[in-house]
Assembly symmetry: D2
Homo-oligomer: 138 residues x 4
């Protein structure tokens, strides 16, 4: 269960998550979920949550999904991410779920989906591919 | 000069820019610059600015560069963006500059560069491609 | 069943598919599969199939998956695609399967997976996101 | 001038370049150009060159631009590429030019531009970002 602890500790150090109000809600081997409640401070000109916030949780969910599979002593860094916005980011809460597609010794690739939840209903509002690198600190 | 006004008005409605502390610093035909000063509240686990914040300013700079060339009555929406992180986001201030690469009636594509400025020195820390759509509201 | 016919007719006009030896093997609403047998003429410097060929079938599979859901008279065009290479393209045959993730009136987004099949075994060797536009010809 | 030789030798082993008719036309430190003459065998349903072919030369140009800066004994592999199609691929010849944006010990990022040349006139028809990895074979 060590991987859950290291993810929770790293997430707790991401000050940005506090600022925007995001919570780490699930960590499994090769999987991570982050939730971000709607607040008006996160919005763009039309009162939708800004695409950059959707990207932020999609990226962090991908990073931590990858991190669960990395060996001890490795640190995780995003090389690139690519986000497709499929529907306006309107809802009570936004849920990013990311799965490892390919875990390599150096490179890991994750697919993230972001759902806008309103009441009980979830709607897919974005998908992302996140490419990460494992760095060994000596 | 109408295009500058419409960009400034739209930017002023992006509540997220207030939250993170980003400023619109330049608007020209087919070009936009946004600056984001470093603050600890924006960081990830290693005290670098979170990739999602870099994406946020790269995306908005792209959106507004595109918006300067769109006809009146059109509204701009990001379809997708793709961000490559080239160096750790360390510096005093982060400057996103975006240029329109291709302006179409429906689709516009912009390239954004994000520089980390420390003292007088700027270092390229990320590049992004942003694909936008012009929506006509009737 | 009209959508199958229009896809088959369009695919038959893609001369490149003849050159590389690709076949359209499945068409469903929102889905398309294309197969490409290995041949030495398709390879890069290490005798793996070139990433560009993997991209070619991932893109066409995405385009035709999208096309199955487009209204009559619309023509389909790729705006952008993004390909992650997960494993060397070695195998007897490469199978691109693409699904529509979001079908819009203007923009459609598809996710493609490319598998390298050797004997009975399939291995995921690439994933792609393909963003398409429906053009109405008047 | 060793880097030119290693690029030319590697390119000569890319059998796919023969099949489609692409030529390596320029190699400098951090730069590569590949040209692909139009032929009907390369086209999609509307007689434009298929996006996959544009991706093929954009990817190889990026790979070899990166390769010029890699140390001896390293081999280059594409991790991912992302292609935006800006104009229909119509012209006499297609010219992919790629520049290294960031050369790292492990990861290199290149930006490729593809121009459609008709007579003396060049038109930008696609841009790509290519992310590559240097593999050390022991």
């Amino acid at each position: 269960m060590n991987f859950k602890k290291k993810v929770r500790q790293s997430f707790a150090r991401q000050r940005i998550m506090d600022l925007i109000g995001a919570k780490l809600t699930k960590v499994e081997k090769g999987f991570c979920e982050i939730q971000l409640p709607y607040k008006i401070e996160l919005t763009q000109q039309d009162a939708f949550v800004h695409a950059g916030m959707i990207g932020t949780i999609a990226d962090s969910a991908g990073g931590y999904a990858a991190y669960t599979l990395m060996e001890e002593g490795a640190s995780v860094l995003t090389i690139e991410y690519k986000l497709n916005l499929l529907a306006p980011a309107i809802g009570d809460i936004f849920i990013a779920r990311s799965k490892v597609v390919k875990a390599g010794k150096i490179i890991t690739v994750c697919n993230s989906e972001v759902f806008a939840k309103t009441g009980k209903k979830e709607k897919l509002c974005a998908t992302a591919t996140v490419t990460l690198i494992a760095l060994r600190i000596k």
